[in-house]
């Protein structure tokens, strides 16, 4: 054999080996990847396909035209995002402070650490009723405020969805605190002490050391809260205004009341795409924040 053909066969064999290896990897991945494809990919695909299929099974753009031409749905989309973003932001601020507080030792910390978790075991619909009992006209809070001459603003079924936002916030704080607190307690205590001895007060330590180091946990908490609030039905249905209705409520109405499944699929797809955009925006904001930090560092 000449050197050239030898080299050629060697390369062909290497290629075949490569193939065999890739095939093995694919086979090994199949149980996990297959599971994901079957239980997540297929329903998602079904939803997207469904949004282009009319009731009698024909391909159509009508549903999307309807979504984007009816103000009910456009307003609904923005109201959905509002009802998801607002509680996420409020709960995030409170949870970060709570998680930082729980890192310290103080008298009664154990009891406090148990109490704040109560909303974890309260279902969304119960939370909604609790908020209603507290905040509605003639509810507990207004009965306390009235004799004091304070006139509370309308907070249940109000146009800003304050009641719904409060309920979602209340419900999500323990989740977020748990996740962010977990991320914070993984930080070496000496690192925090070092920052203190170098001249940083508690707030500076929180902002410059604890937050950046707990960022993966914070992002996970933001994601979970945002998605669960975006899809919640019971809370906006009970506490939200009659108009606009978030897409989750529209989906329920259209699907179960009217059997209009194609529009449900279209709304589901729209909501998912919007969620992806919001989260992309979140990550680019975080990237910008930490990136600008790194850039400043490189310059100095």
């Amino acid at each position: 054999m000449t050197a050239i053909t030898e080299d050629h066969t060697r390369r062909a064999m290497a290629k075949r080996d490569q193939w065999a290896r890739n095939r093995t990897i694919l086979l090994l991945l199949l149980p996990g990847a297959g599971y994901l494809l079957f239980f997540f990919g297929l329903p998602l695909l079904r939803t997207v396909v469904g949004s282009f299929t009319s009731l009698d099974g024909a391909f159509t753009f009508d549903l999307w035209v309807e979504l984007f031409s009816e103000p009910v749905y456009i307003d609904g989309l923005f109201f959905s995002l509002w009802l998801a973003i607002a509680p996420t932001v409020v709960a995030l601020v409170i949870s970060v402070l709570l998680a930082a507080l729980l890192q310290a030792t103080f008298p009664g910390r154990r009891i406090f650490g148990a109490l704040y978790r109560i909303p974890l075991v309260v279902p969304g619909i119960v939370a909604a009723f609790l908020v209603m009992v507290m905040l509605d006209r003639g509810g507990m809070l207004s009965r306390i405020a009235e004799p004091l001459g304070i006139d509370l603003p309308r907070m249940v079924r109000d146009e800003w969805g304050i009641g719904a936002i409060l309920a979602s916030t209340w419900k999500n704080i323990p989740f977020m605190t748990l996740i962010i607190g977990g991320a914070m307690s993984a930080i070496n205590r000496d690192v925090l002490h070092a920052a203190r001895t170098l001249g940083a007060g508690r707030l500076t330590v929180l902002l410059r050391i604890q937050l950046p180091l707990a960022l993966p946990g914070i992002s996970a908490a933001v994601l979970l809260t945002f998605i669960s609030s975006l899809g919640s039905y019971a809370i906006p249905n009970l506490l939200g205004p009659a108009y606009p209705l978030p897409l989750s409520v529209h989906m329920y109405e259209q699907g179960f009341r009217r059997g209009n499944w194609p529009i449900v699929y279209a709304m589901g797809t729209l909501l998912s795409v919007a969620a992806i955009f919001v989260l992309l925006a979140y990550y680019s904001l975080i990237g910008r924040l930490t990136g600008s930090h790194a850039r400043r560092e490189a310059r100095s």
Binding site: V191, H193, A194, R196, T197, L198, G199, G201, T204
Partner: protein, 353 residues
């Protein structure tokens, strides 16, 4: 700059008293090492000085300013931790700049001071690295630079070298000592390693169970400790129960020696450092005992001799001596005059060291 005074410092946790009435003076510019077994309260003492832990009782003064109750960020003390405690998300430069940013120094000043500090620890080339891209020794040098760049009034070290391997530990220890001398910063250095303590300290403070056992400069503390605990914790020693008679004592194998400090309370025995005993084969004369164990260490040889019913450790330095076989009858020559140890409340440190 000023010296540090600690008076009656006590820290009670739920279960234990980590500190029990500790008094300590660190003169201006000096380095005091706290030496003691693990759990004796060294870290608690250091953290109280730093302001990270609130003492239950007692006070701390810097010069004539009382500082306990001042939050750590306003004490201007530099601290170096066993775990390095660098900020993992910041570059070496940023780690050093942090303390200066807190002091609101102008950017150009920060850049200058960080560069100087990095130069002192020979880490200029690493300014852009993240801590995880450095070795343990490099991380600890950065931590040291971060503590000194703020020009602290007091430097606190909590076993800074104990996570490093032996060779690196020695070289870093020497660098650290030279740096502390040069800067002249009042320092407390915590360690459980007696060699480190002696190499670094102007004064060594021996601690046990939340209390100070005794203190002194390395030489006198090593040569003439008061308590058995100190003698055994600071290096190894033979504590031999000898029959006392005035200023003379009779050793178990029959020899008589004078005692340099007769008449002390509760004597535990005389101290004879293993390296202070000469050993020779009996060669027909009356033997004192025989070799029970032998350990060849290269730079020297350690023996255990069975003499008059007690086991005596003998270290022979040098490489040119003939090794003596196990079982050989030998004679022992301790120093002419021996030092008597007090039992104290601390007992023996043999099991701890």
């Amino acid at each position: 700059m000023a010296g540090l005074s600690i008076r009656g410092l006590t820290k009670a946790f739920d279960q234990v008293r980590a500190l029990d009435g500790v008094d300590l003076e660190v003169p201006d510019g000096q380095l005091v090492t706290l030496l003691g077994p693990s759990g004796c309260g060294k870290t608690t003492l250091l953290r109280s000085v730093a302001g990270i832990t609130d003492p239950t009782e007692g006070g701390i003064w810097l010069g004539d300013r009382r500082i306990d109750g001042v939050p750590p960020e306003r004490r201007n003390f530099g601290m170096v931790f066993q775990s390095y405690a660098l900020f993992p998300h910041m570059s070496v430069f940023k780690n050093l700049a942090f303390g200066l940013e807190m002091r609101r120094l102008p950017r150009s000043e920060i850049r200058k001071r960080v560069a100087q500090a990095l130069h002192l620890v020979d880490m200029e080339a690493m300014a852009g690295r993240l801590p995880r891209q450095l070795s343990g020794g490099q991380q600890q040098r950065v931590a040291l630079a971060r503590a000194i760049v703020i020009e602290p009034d007091v430097l606190l070290f909590d076993e800074p070298l104990s996570n490093l391997d032996a060779k690196l530990r020695d070289s870093l220890r020497d660098q650290l000592r030279a740096l502390q001398r040069r800067l002249g910063v009042t320092s407390i250095y915590v360690t459980h390693d007696q060699v480190e303590a002696m190499a670094l300290a102007d004064e060594i403070v021996i601690m046990f169970s939340g209390e100070i056992v005794e203190r002194g400069d390395p030489v006198s503390l090593y040569r003439r400790p008061i308590f058995r605990f100190t003698a055994e914790f600071l290096g190894r020693t033979n504590v031999i129960e000898a029959r006392l008679d005035g200023d003379r004592c009779r050793l178990p194998w029959g020899d008589e020696r004078s005692v340099e400090n007769p008449g002390i309370d509760d004597p535990a025995g005389v101290a004879i450092r293993p390296e202070d005993i000469a050993i020779s084969t009996a060669n027909g004369s009356d033997p004192h005992g025989e070799i029970a164990e032998r350990m060849f260490l290269g730079a020297g040889t350690n023996y255990v001799v069975d003499a008059g019913g007690v086991r005596v450790r003998v270290n022979v330095a040098g490489t040119q001596n003939d090794l003596i076989d196990i079982g050989t009858p030998v004679r022992l020559t301790p120093p002419k005059s021996l030092h008597l140890l007090r039992r104290g409340r601390h007992g023996s440190a043999e099991a701890l060291a």
